[in-house]
């Protein structure tokens, strides 16, 4: 009962935040609504007992991805009104995507009645059940190749991003850090010993 109240509370905030993302006029506010949405979905996962996934969602998406996103959005100087003027041009495409998503959602709800189990039918786990250990065991045994493949794909993405942004322009001035770090006092300062001058 209590869990249900919590679920509806967080689910309402989640849907509200998701609506906020697309209706907010200021792009920074949109990003912050998205952060709120991520946070609430993490809480919903916690309610299901998936604490590892919930915390990783906060750590990766809220703590890293959205920070960089916010960083970029703050630096952009977008004229929101101008961006929204061509909005109706894409309406047919949007409608198609909307219909596809609605059909998919309906299918999920329909399939659930066909024998897919819902959350309250899941077997309750023991108090010492360790979500993290179970996930780790699965990832490093049954799904080892898929896991390593995902890691390699991410590595390729990193290399691609760096090679796309790294440009060597002619005439670029750069500091030689190792020579800066290895500099000693004798190279920069000269102590001069001299006798004090006679009083005039």
């Amino acid at each position: 009962m209590f869990t249900q109240i919590l679920f509806y509370l967080f689910a309402t905030v989640l849907v509200g935040a998701a609506i906020g993302v697309i209706t907010a006029r200021n792009p920074v506010h949109s990003v912050l609504f998205l952060v709120l949405a991520f946070f609430n979905s993490a809480v919903l996962w916690l309610l299901l007992g998936a604490e590892f996934l919930a915390i990783v969602l906060v750590l990766v998406y809220v703590g890293a991805v959205m920070v960089l996103f916010l960083f970029v959005v703050m630096m952009l100087d977008i004229n929101v009104e101008q961006a929204k003027s061509g909005f109706t041009k894409y309406a047919p495409l949007g409608l198609v995507v909307l219909v596809i998503m609605a059909v998919e959602l309906a299918q999920v709800i329909w399939v659930r009645h066909m024998g897919m189990i819902s959350a309250d039918e899941l077997a309750p786990v023991a108090a010492d059940y360790n979500n993290t250990r179970e996930l780790g065991l699965l990832l490093y045994t049954d799904y080892f190749y898929a896991f390593e493949l995902a890691a390699v794909i991410l590595l390729v993405a990193i290399v691609a991003a760096i090679s796309l942004t790294m440009r060597r322009r002619p005439g670029l001035k750069a500091q030689n850090i190792s020579s800066q770090v290895s500099v000693r006092r004798q190279d920069r300062v000269r102590l001069v010993k001299m006798d004090s001058e006679e009083r005039q």
């Binding site: 912050l32 604490e51 906060v58 750590l59 703590g63 890293a64 920070v67 960089l68 993290t132 500091q175």
Partner: protein
């Protein structure tokens, strides 16, 4: 019939938990207050001054005088500032610093929330503190504040990676994400030689220095950088909202010190475990040891501030990306070898 018996049993748990949370938070905030005094005193003596000594006996009431002064000042919201975000930014920076204490093992058998993924929880929460800084910089509608926020965001994202890798090694060595079990894994007959600071020595150093950078403390305090960008992200803040930023910075310092003590110096374990009897004063584990270790790291924070000049910004980035991250990755492999060969006394 006592008051606690009159409550229904479900509320019992809630009441006890709330009382514990309150106790931890109040003590923490008092620690923050006296840390500000300790900083002024310690840096004073390092610089051959006396430091504050006017308010109360030996200046001991100085923090309360400061708090009172800040509470009575006007909160100024700049023109064209984003009012809501401007007000909420300091709150966003203090909340994670306090919430992370939920999983801290304070003394044997006591953790507010003994969750399995405690270390991940700490990582997730400490990564949220940056929002307060970024939003403060953006919402202030001031170029100095914005520059400070940009610097801080880039710095925190860079050092979080090194910090995360150092913690991966801690997890490998202890075999658990639970902070209480990480402390237990460092127990042994050799006392302080059993703690993880020895097999993980480079990572211990990397973690603490990354902690300095994460909290925007000297010598990595370019986010404030008063000689270049006035006061960085909190230049437009005054009164209570400034006090909350101050509180958050010091609460984060205490958090990083306590975490370093838990991960690398055995938390509440006694350094003389196995040398003296387990029930003697020096041999028994307890809150005392945890507080002592935390205080040592806090002193280091103050010591570094009084000693080192501020890093240049490009050198901060170089240190984070090109020195710390490779060091941590190499040491994870070294540690893997140590565990594979069951190196005594840590991994036997």
């Amino acid at each position: 019939m006592s008051f606690s018996d009159s409550l229904p049993p479900q509320l019992h748990v809630v009441a006890i938990t709330l009382a514990q949370i309150l106790a931890v938070t109040v003590v923490l905030i008092l620690c923050v207050a006296y840390l500000t005094l300790a900083e002024r005193k310690v840096i004073g003596y390092i610089q051959n001054r006396i430091g504050p000594n006017r308010v109360g006996p030996k200046g001991l009431l100085q923090p309360f005088a400061d708090v009172l002064k800040l509470l009575l000042k006007e909160v100024v919201v700049p023109a064209n500032a984003d009012r809501f975000l401007f007000i909420i930014a300091p709150v966003l920076s203090i909340t994670p610093a306090l919430a992370a204490w939920a999983v801290m093992p304070l003394f044997p058998g006591f953790i507010l929330a003994n969750i399995n993924a405690g270390l991940l929880y700490v990582l997730a929460l400490t990564s949220l503190g940056v929002y307060g800084v970024i939003l403060a910089g953006w919402a202030s509608n001031s170029k100095y504040a914005f520059l400070g926020a940009m610097r801080s965001a880039a710095q925190i994202v860079a050092y979080e990676i090194a910090m995360g890798f150092a913690l991966v090694a801690v997890v490998m060595a202890s075999g658990s994400l639970n902070l209480g079990e990480i402390v237990q894994a460092q127990a042994g007959g050799a006392g302080l030689l059993n703690w993880f600071w020895l097999p993980l020595f480079p990572l211990f150093i990397v973690y603490f220095i990354s902690g300095l950078a994460e909290t925007n403390r000297a010598p990595f305090d370019v986010a404030e950088g008063e000689s270049e960008i006035v006061a960085g992200f909190h230049v437009e803040y005054s009164g209570v909202s400034f006090a909350v930023f101050f509180l958050a910075e010091y609460a984060n310092m205490i958090l990083i010190s306590a975490l370093t003590a838990v991960f690398f110096l055995g938390g509440w374990l006694s350094p003389f475990q196995g040398w003296f009897a387990a029930d003697s004063l020096l041999g028994a584990p307890g809150f005392f040891w945890f507080a002592l270790k935390t205080a040592f790291f806090l002193f280091c924070f103050l010591w570094f501030r009084a000693t080192f000049p501020r890093y240049r910004y490009d050198q901060i980035m170089r240190l984070g990306w090109k020195v710390f991250i490779p060091v941590t990755i190499v040491w994870i492999f070294v540690l893997g070898a140590m565990i594979a060969f069951k190196l005594p006394p840590w991994f036997a």
